[in-house]
């Protein structure tokens, strides 16, 4: 029999941040020494509209427990309309995921400007807390990606 690992589950959170606002916001959080959990890992994308739904599913498949998208505030997009597209696409995708029974709280989108280091840290702390309380992602897991 396999030994059941009694190690506490540490949730993994993948954050997609747009280069111009949210990634800069994360940098500001850093330079202001505003902490957020280490299990939040950031992937830099040019714009939130670069985030393909496949990336989000892929992250869950690989073992992420929560995925968060950050972009410029609507209307402030560096590419002027990118995040408007993101908002619709993700509205549809998140709703669809929930329709499949995946917990609504596992996916989130937040608008964080380059000036909002504080907000970035607050959002990440809050999201990490939410994901912690939800526990491990079971409904979108790929068993092949689990340790065995």
């Amino acid at each position: 029999m396999q030994e059941i690992e009694k190690k506490e589950h540490k949730p993994l959170i993948v954050a997609f941040c747009c280069n111009w606002c949210s990634y800069a916001g994360a940098d500001l959080a850093g330079s202001s020494r505003l902490s957020y959990p280490a299990n939040v890992k950031i992937i830099r994308v040019p714009c939130s509209c670069r985030v393909n739904p496949i990336f989000i599913l892929k992250a869950f498949q690989r073992g992420a427990d929560g995925v968060i998208l950050c972009g410029c505030h609507p209307g402030d997009c560096h590419y002027s309309t990118g995040n408007f597209h993101t908002r619709r696409r993700m509205g549809i995708l998140f709703s669809l995921l929930n329709y499949f029974g995946i917990e609504k709280e596992r996916t989130r989108i937040e608008w964080v400007s380059a000036a909002e280091g504080q907000k970035f840290s607050l959002v990440m702390n809050d999201f990490a807390k939410t994901i912690c309380s939800l526990g491990e992602n079971r409904r979108l897991e790929d068993l092949r990606c689990k340790k065995n």
Binding site: G75, R88, R89, G91, Y99, F100, G101, I109
Partner: protein, 324 residues
């Protein structure tokens, strides 16, 4: 009734071919039995030409390939097929000049699997009346009311409007049933997350990844689908893990979002009886609720809710898939 429609259609087809206006005709052909109907091209011989309650197949997608060939093709489109036709025009997938569209009457198509489900098997022949099917089987004769065996897509017909045609053959009034369109979606939404998960897990675990839903879908006309493309990182030929079937159906639904006309072909062809149309319909419902009523294929337009936006759209986090 049905015979009259069929003979009018054939007459028209023959006339158009004789006059040289069209080169060939895309319609349905009867095979081994009454319900065994395949899409087919007719040119010289009209043997097997048929139009009956089992002609569910949407012919519009065949035009993608047909209009690449020489000459003009006459096609018969049911109301819901005309939406797909328009949508394909919007996506520049069909050369309109090479098609002569004949819009035809549709009183709802039937699903032979529902006849089987009534315990009727060994079917030798079927006789169709306006409201009934008289079925001859090796185990005796049976009668079935048509409205008990409507295919899923016709049970909640969204529209009986012919949105595009060069000519139409409609003998009787057609009635839609759009009030019920989102009933099952709403039922699913009212379930808890856990129940919904269980529902879809059970349904999707049947998926054998035969790709019938994709290959029949008039919105899926990519020549190199992401699921066949090794570069995409999600290519796969089988559901090696339960994650993959979810990935496949979520991404497929997302790729046709805004372009899906809700023709219901995906559910019709699924060999495992998965109600795939409920996925697309959820997206349509969400888009209607949040971004304004929209029916893909109603007009020829490159804009659809997924490529469009409003500056005051609702926030993505607030669009909900259903109850907690």
């Amino acid at each position: 009734m049905q015979e009259k429609l069929e003979s009018l259609m054939q007459e028209l087809a023959l006339k158009k071919i004789a006059s040289g206006e069209v080169d060939r005709v895309l319609a349905w052909k009867k095979g081994e039995s009454y319900f065994d109907v395949s899409p087919a091209i007719f040119k010289e011989s009209f043997d097997g030409f048929t139009y009956n309650a089992f002609c569910g197949a949407n012919l519009s997608k065949f035009l993608v390939e047909e209009t690449k060939k020489e000459g003009k093709v006459l096609v018969f489109l049911k109301p819901c097929d005309t939406y797909s036709f328009n949508q394909l025009l919007s996506e520049h997938r069909i050369n309109r000049e090479k098609v002569y569209v004949v819009g035809i009457e549709c009183q709802g198509k039937l699903d032979i699997n529902k006849v089987y489900a009534k315990g009727i098997d060994g079917i030798l022949d079927i006789e169709e009346t306006d409201s009934e099917l008289k079925i001859k089987t090796i185990y005796g004769d049976k009668t079935v009311k048509k409205d008990e065996v409507f295919s899923v897509k016709c049970e909640t017909c969204k529209s009986k409007k012919l949105v595009v045609f060069d000519e139409k053959i409609v003998l009787n009034e057609m009635k839609d049933n759009k009030e019920k369109r989102f009933d099952i979606v709403e039922k699913l939404e009212s379930m808890t997350e856990e129940e919904r998960f269980a529902f879809w897990q059970a349904e999707l675990s049947k998926c054998i990844r035969c790709n019938a839903c994709r290959n029949v879908c008039p919105a899926c006309t990519c020549t190199n689908c992401v699921f066949d493309n090794n570069k995409s990182g999600i290519a796969g030929k089988a559901n090696a893990d339960s994650f993959e079937e979810k990935l496949y159906h979520i991404i497929r639904a997302f790729h046709v979002a805004g372009r899906c006309t809700d023709c219901g072909e995906c559910s019709r062809v699924c060999p495992q009886g998965i109600p795939l149309h409920l996925i697309n319909r959820k997206i349509i419902k969400d888009m209607n609720t949040n971004y304004g009523e929209y029916q893909a294929g109603e007009t020829v337009t490159p804009l659809n809710p997924i490529v469009d936006f409003k500056k005051d759209d609702v926030e993505a986090n607030t669009v909900v898939g259903g109850k907690k």
